[in-house]
């Protein structure tokens, strides 16, 4: 990999490194997180902190458990029957896996954007209004829809066809619609699971720009298999890899290194990270 890609763009990193005066607050504090599917341990010993108004990227080779970990933050792993979690994810000090926690309430505060754009087969308007309607929002739905679409940089493209089906949009537009749909619920955090992997480079660039804009209001965690993307957009990067369990011939994901993106891509502490970010494996 060429050095200018390995070293992240200075402009992008600048805003987060500048305000040193006040320490950003911790949104998620992950402690000794293990995720199991049945008896199989998919990920082990994850420790990391996600800071407010930052973009945290999870990178690593396929099967390293980065998506699995991401899905713990909004309890989406609950939908997989055999999934089980050990350890703690503290969200502003409250353990998300406390038995008293209502996962549905968690998901209202922590939105998610998926790998494949998944708009509902409804109109553009109804897609955005879906979340607000659920929570019985009595505010002006038109305003909410417009605001969410503007925030997702989609308004100008769709304002004349709000009543048309969302299925008629291009892939990139659909993904921005999904971001707008998540924003309309007014979450604090947006989780993105490889949001650009189904998009062309131009649509990808638009989503990346959008992430930079959203950062001032939201905390973002993005899983990406694209190292350059992590380097371009994120403030902090977690590198995961897989370990082969010699007895059972299964693979368990581990968190190798978690640091500022700058550090991960220019001076990683672990040799495995260096091998990965320089393209020697993965």
């Amino acid at each position: 990999m060429s050095p200018e890609i390995a070293a992240p763009n200075a402009e992008v990193v600048a805003p987060t490194t500048a305000p040193v005066s006040e320490a950003p607050s911790v949104v998620f504090d992950v402690r000794e997180l293990d995720v199991y599917y049945g008896e199989f341990r998919a990920v082990r010993d994850v420790n990391l902190q996600v800071l407010q108004h930052e973009i945290t990227a999870f990178i690593g080779p396929s099967g390293c458990g980065k998506s699995t970990v991401l899905r713990c933050f909004d309890r989406m792993n609950d939908l997989i029957e055999s999934a089980r979690v050990d350890g703690k994810i503290l969200y502003h000090g409250i353990d998300l896996y406390d038995p008293r926690i209502d996962p549905v309430e968690v998901r209202k505060r922590i939105g998610m954007v998926f790998q494949k754009p998944n708009p509902f087969p409804k109109s553009i308007y109804d897609n955005i209004a879906f979340g607000p309607r659920l929570s019985g929002n009595k505010g002006n739905l038109d305003d909410i829809v417009e605001h969410a679409l503007r925030r997702a940089a989609l308004w100008d493209e769709v304002k004349d066809r709000l009543k048309k089906s969302a299925m008629g949009l291009s892939g990139g537009q659909q993904q921005r619609l999904c971001i707008a749909r998540a924003i309309a619920v007014e979450p604090e955090v947006i989780l993105m699971d490889e949001p650009c992997s189904a998009l062309d480079p131009i649509a990808t660039a638009r989503i990346e720009d959008l992430m930079q804009e959203l950062k001032s209001d939201y905390t973002i965690i993005i899983v990406t298999h694209n190292m350059q993307q992590a380097a371009r957009v994120s403030d902090r990067t977690a590198f995961f890899t897989t370990e082969v369990n010699s007895e059972s011939d299964t693979r368990t994901g581990v968190l190798v290194e978690f640091d500022s993106t700058d550090k991960i891509f220019s001076a990683p502490a672990d040799e495995r990270t260096e091998n990965y970010v320089t393209g020697r494996f993965g």
């Binding site: 989406m76 939908l79 998926f114 879906f130 089906s165 749909r181």
Partner: protein, 299 residues
């Protein structure tokens, strides 16, 4: 230029003889398939054409409004009670079977999934689909008619039992076609499971569920055997399905066609045409409704 083509690439070109035999085979296969289609459509067209030809003469205003004649061998009278009977009895069956069937399918696919209860119910539904309708009629005869007498509701029960497994199985198939991504999108927005089903899954599968329901209704509306045991034989209009005997188009077709009298046989043809028209009209109505809903939801 042609002499520049290397031998490796030349294999890509059709050689004249294989190309010709390939074209002939292609043509033969196409003709064969077209022929199969025509043969399959012929009986359907003949049935509809013949019913139309024999039955159209019966239709008039009186046909739909007047009671059945006291003496079947003479012309005159109408089919009013049978038309109303078919509509009411089928409606009664639909009112019972549609909600039960759809809720059952929701349980099977969204809640029970691969559990033992769900597997058992799914198996029973499959068995129930194969139960001959006359057996269903006998069943309702023993559990309902012997106690409450002959009435339209007995017929509705029997037809409902026939419709239920069809609705359960087709609805479950339609729910299976709803991509899991949509459910996940809904959950990720903080939507509870039951609301995900009502706001995302059911609207997305509405068209398919409607056609499944229509198939069930069409099948039930044409059933004769279960009604013969349960609804009795009325000549007069009876609007109360819970009290007293009724009649239905299918029963009238069966009864009239068996007699040696011309008037009665024409009446059977008229009833057949009316029944076909009712089922056809309902199918078109369902298509229109589901395409209207689909236009509102999908691309």
């Amino acid at each position: 230029m042609t002499d520049l083509i290397s031998p490796d690439v030349e294999q890509l070109l059709f050689d004249a003889t294989t190309s010709r035999s390939r074209r002939i085979k292609n043509r033969l296969a196409s003709i064969w398939m077209l022929g199969a289609l025509v043969v399959a459509v012929i009986p359907l067209a003949l049935v509809i054409g013949y019913v139309l030809f024999k039955g159209i003469g019966q239709l008039s205003v009186a046909w739909f409004t007047e009671d059945l004649p006291a003496v079947t061998r003479k012309a005159g009278g109408g089919m009013g009670p049978a038309v109303v009977g078919t509509l009411l009895i089928t409606l009664g069956a639909a009112v019972m079977a549609i909600p039960l069937g759809i809720l059952g399918a929701i349980y099977l696919h969204e809640y029970g999934a691969k559990g033992r209860t769900a597997r058992l119910i799914r198996f029973m539904a499959d068995v129930m689909t194969g139960v001959p309708s006359i057996v269903m009629g006998l069943f309702v005869y023993t559990v309902w008619t012997l106690t409450f007498g002959l009435n339209g509701f007995g017929g509705s029960l029997a037809l409902g039992c026939l419709m239920l497994p069809i609705i359960i199985r087709t609805t479950e198939e339609m729910l299976r076609l709803v991509p899991d991504e949509l459910r996940q999108a809904s959950y990720a927005l903080g939507n509870r499971k039951w609301r995900t089903i009502t706001t995302v899954v059911l609207p997305a599968s509405f068209g398919g569920i409607t056609s499944g329901v229509m198939i069930a209704i069409a099948r039930a509306a044409g059933e004769t055997a279960p009604l013969v045991f349960t609804i009795g034989a009325a000549r007069n209009l009876n609007l109360n399905i819970f009290e007293g005997p009724m009649t239905a188009l299918s029963v009238q077709i069966f009864g009239n066609a068996q007699t040696p009298f011309d008037a009665a046989q024409s009446r059977a043809w008229g009833a057949a045409l009316t029944l076909v028209a009712i089922v056809f009209a309902m199918t078109i109505l369902a298509r229109v409704v589901s395409s209207m809903v689909a236009r509102r939801h999908a691309a």
